[in-house]
Symmetry: D2
Subunit: 346 residues, 4 copies
């Protein structure tokens, strides 16, 4: 059993903890945080399913005042794990790295950290092998993770040498108040970092794109124009490849998947924890051909989409599996991913 800790129990950290807890070949040792946030209060009200450790600077009396049990310090947690999933606020992970190095513990950082924090910029499908045995890995961001899933899927099947993307970005998570946008679409300078990051992970692909922020909270939508390296990729070919992928859910507007909020609605109705979805959505109705390109739209559930690839990263770092296909299959099995493919009518 690989022992895993989670640093930072926020939007991503909670989901990393849930995801690791579902892996039968991993043990979630505990989570670490700084203050009794709403998420920590919820953990308390749930009866502390995960042991809590306090990072440096935490005020223990605040936790005691709320009867929140504390299992030790961050150093204690580090001492008990093989690998840390670090979802601390941006910049904190880099500081934590010194502690990990000192303790000889591996770590997987999230997209908010600077690339320099890690030895390998990692994606479970596109470059798993690069992460094998690495000490410090950094995950791609939510948009990049989902985007690469779809481009890698086409690339493996048919070859892709160029993509142009338009990211229609949700601007905040449900429950955010500090980074909203009201009645405005906001532009970023092109090319978007997601396109640049894709090229780092998939250096044989030329990528560019434009990102527009929109005032919604339930999932980014990305349109992708992907150029076939070996000539036209047909609509049927692309559809077939996407439908066979365990982390891509192909949907249709006529079935009720009208937009990004439908995925959230469906995940809640499925009984998924927090209404989360690990898979990206892909609209069958969006698939069109143009020249030697295939164009399509995907939905990125920003809060949870990076969890599977983060778990893949643990597998790579700890050499639990030696290739992407085997590793992602293990992660998917425990996260119950891809089972929808067997339902008639999919």
């Amino acid at each position: 059993m690989i022992k895993v800790g989670v640093a930072g129990y926020g939007v991503i950290g909670q989901r990393l903890a849930d995801g690791v807890a579902l892996q039968k070949d991993m043990e979630l040792v505990g989570v670490a945080d700084l203050a009794p946030t709403l998420s920590i209060r919820a953990l308390r009200e749930r009866g502390m399913p995960y042991p809590l450790y306090l990072v440096d600077g935490a005020d223990a009396t605040k936790f005691a005042d709320l009867d929140i049990p504390v299992s030790g310090t961050f150093a204690d947690l580090i001492g008990k794990v093989d690998v840390m999933l670090d979802s601390s606020p941006g910049g904190v992970g880099a500081k934590n790295k010194a502690l990990y190095e000192k303790a000889g513990v591996k770590a997987v950082f999230q997209g908010g950290e600077n690339n320099s924090v890690a030895d390998v910029f990692f994606h479970g499908y596109a470059n798993y092998e690069k992460g094998l045995g690495a000490d410090y890995l950094k995950l791609t961001s939510c948009n990049t993770t989902g985007l690469i899933r779809s481009v890698d899927c086409l690339d493996r099947a048919f070859g892709v040498d160029r993509v142009a993307i338009t990211i229609i970005r949700r601007v905040a998570d449900p429950g955010d108040y500090h980074r909203g946008l009201t009645n405005a679409l906001q532009m970023d300078k092109a090319p978007s970092h997601q396109a640049v990051d894709l090229m780092t992970i998939m250096p044989h692909v030329e990528a560019t794109g434009i990102l527009v922020h929109t005032p919604v909270t339930h999932g980014h939508i990305i349109t992708v124009v992907a150029h076939g390296k070996n000539g036209r990729i047909t609509r049927d070919q692309a559809l077939g490849a996407f439908k066979a992928h365990d982390r891509i859910r192909v949907v249709r507007i006529d079935d009720g998947f009208l937009g990004n909020a439908s995925f959230f609605r469906y995940a809640r109705d499925l009984g998924n924890s927090r209404g989360d979805m690990y898979e990206i959505g892909l609209w069958e109705d969006s698939l069109v051909e143009t020249g030697d390109n295939i164009m399509y739209a995907i939905n990125i559930p920003q809060e949870s989409v990076t969890i599977p690839e983060s778990i893949d990263a643990v597998r790579a770092a700890m050499k639990m599996q030696h290739d992407s296909a085997t590793a992602t299959a293990e992660t998917n099995k425990y996260l119950n991913l891809g089972n929808w493919k067997s339902i008639k009518g999919y």
Copy 2:
């Protein structure tokens, strides 16, 4: 074991089914619907935890095409239950009533139906006794249900004879596309129906109010100016009464409950199914005195707030308990309501 069915497996129906399934003295026999909506597809993907019956007009082949198991007709379901929770689209419940009458089955309708469909317009706390043994009950709407909880709470403790409310209404549920509002606050004509409905349930209180629609999806907020029948209700008195209530959760801005979306965030983090919350929220920071009035703001989780009172209605109709205090305590026990009161710092 009281046998219960649910007609209409939409936003409310799903939650009614979940709520009934948690009651150890009730049995959820099944749910009925018309078409393979996203919610029915999710039921299928979950493995059919609730048996599905088809209402008249349903096209069985559409269900067969998706391998969705069907347990019978709506008439079959009616034949198996003691009471039906009817959350069909507005107007359909009135038609269903004829079927219930024919079969000698009781029914509890939701707020969308016309009052004339029922013998009793019902609230679990404010007029439970009126519902005792009744055949047809209609629940108050989500806003009215939550509002009455708070006004009844003050009324029992201190006496209330007049309220003036401002309803800041969320305009759509997460996943709705057909009834949105973009960058606008929309007025309804005063007095709002919620104030009028409150007077029907609590005839000794004079109520009026103004409703404004706002472009959000996570919970209505209502401000209430309640007049003490017996003189000033102090802030401390009101706070004490609210904190003791099992369906009112008192919160503070400084603890992270910044607005309506915080309740949704907290419910998701609690692991509540669908991120739902049965209790209303009440901001301690909103409580202010003015003349002989106490003023405060509450949060109404529109999708799930009526579930407890709907289950109370089953208890009343079936005479499972003979007074409000006993009945609501049973409902609350199975829904795990009010346990937060024992946590230090509440």
Copy 3:
């Protein structure tokens, strides 16, 4: 002086009237409508700058009750004009056509009508010559009009044979309550009609695209991937062509044009009537090359962008000018378009 009438004094009709009134070689005879809407009430409060005629079915007493002067019937208006700009609600224009034909009056319809209503589907730059002397013309929709401006601009300069677009569509106009969207991005089936319409106007270009509705009111944003017929179109080439266009305003994020709402803010600050803008915006920061394609993002002010091309259509129908360059120059002169090019720093 060409005599022009406007049928339908709504969002578009008001702006057509304002635009025609500015043309020194046209006379706005009057506007026609059905009911005393807010726009008609505003016309009254402004002192009736445009004479009002009532269409069939209007209740004259409602206008009298509000002291709104009426100059005659729709038939009276038709009898006084050479050409009618018809911005009636979708479908009404087709009925009006019979009246125009009977009276021997030409007409220009807006994008909401079916293509079959017109002899020519028209754009002032891309196919002006097709409209010369035509009796019935239909304008492209707001998105298509703005999109074609930019594609035609590149096509004339460098040749374009293929475009793939992503339309990030504003879902309602300021003041709309009936067609909103709240916290959701909604998908349309691909290809979008705007791409299809572009191919009708510019048959030598292959076009496809995806449209996503967003909950904002101040302007659509479209990203365009345009393929050079004769090889790579460089960023500098494209920028030069766009900057020289009188209906395209090139802007930069660093100058304060952060998104679609900045154009509205700027137009209000310019003192433009209603805060309108006739020109599309184009972000210099969005221009990127990819393969033989140039990619860029434009902003479409949906309420007013079709006004210049609609006036061009009058010029074509009445043969006021015989080629696009001369005709659009006249329209632009009276609408004060393109003068920003002479300001240092543009």
Copy 4:
């Protein structure tokens, strides 16, 4: 002619300049700002209707690079005026005050400054006489200004001794990107500062209230429960008083005023500069009686509502008129306020 300057040419400053320019007994000498913002660029593109002066710290070369004519320094402007309308960013006005004192120039500050900056906290109707001859006045905020208009109106006619308000606050202005809110209603701690400020201006009234932020940009809505000092204020009485006020526009839902965005739509259609409205809106449909209270809802056009009272403040400071009735009548005459009352059907 009273000579007036405007410090800070932002959202409020532009409107102050426009408002002063319309007063036939005042001369707008010029406006001052720091950087070539969008608003300054628009001033340039309009041909500099108002002379521009640069405050300390401005980089003159940036203006020269854009061919923006500069008429002098802030000190130059101060030297030319009798009174300065200071709409600098919050906190800057307090620093500017030292310059005004040194130059012996009076000043009127906006709501963003601390109360201590001024000798008098001012409202044109409620305490004009307090401002007579004062050197430094501070305007109430937009919500407080509009709220007081309505409460003062009732108070003069019938006597008011207590109000409880709910402020449904728009969170950003059109064109803002930095202070939005997405799909959330956000609470402030009670009592709201607007209620507290009302008590400062109208010390004989007890006021409290709750403020909720909403994700819209076109106008705050406030509901008011006002208690009659001398017994019940009837609906008809209140309606009569409101309809007679020159800065309150009474509207009806059935006429098309469905919400806050309707006022903006109407103001644009009226041809008002920037689509602004100086008057508050009051819904006839919202007026209801409760006990000895009258309850109603008003709409506050946040960008422009304080302009008339700011001009009143100039009149008071300069003793141009000696009582509120005469002074506000002059301001209203030049701003064309209240003329709607003569239109049949109002």
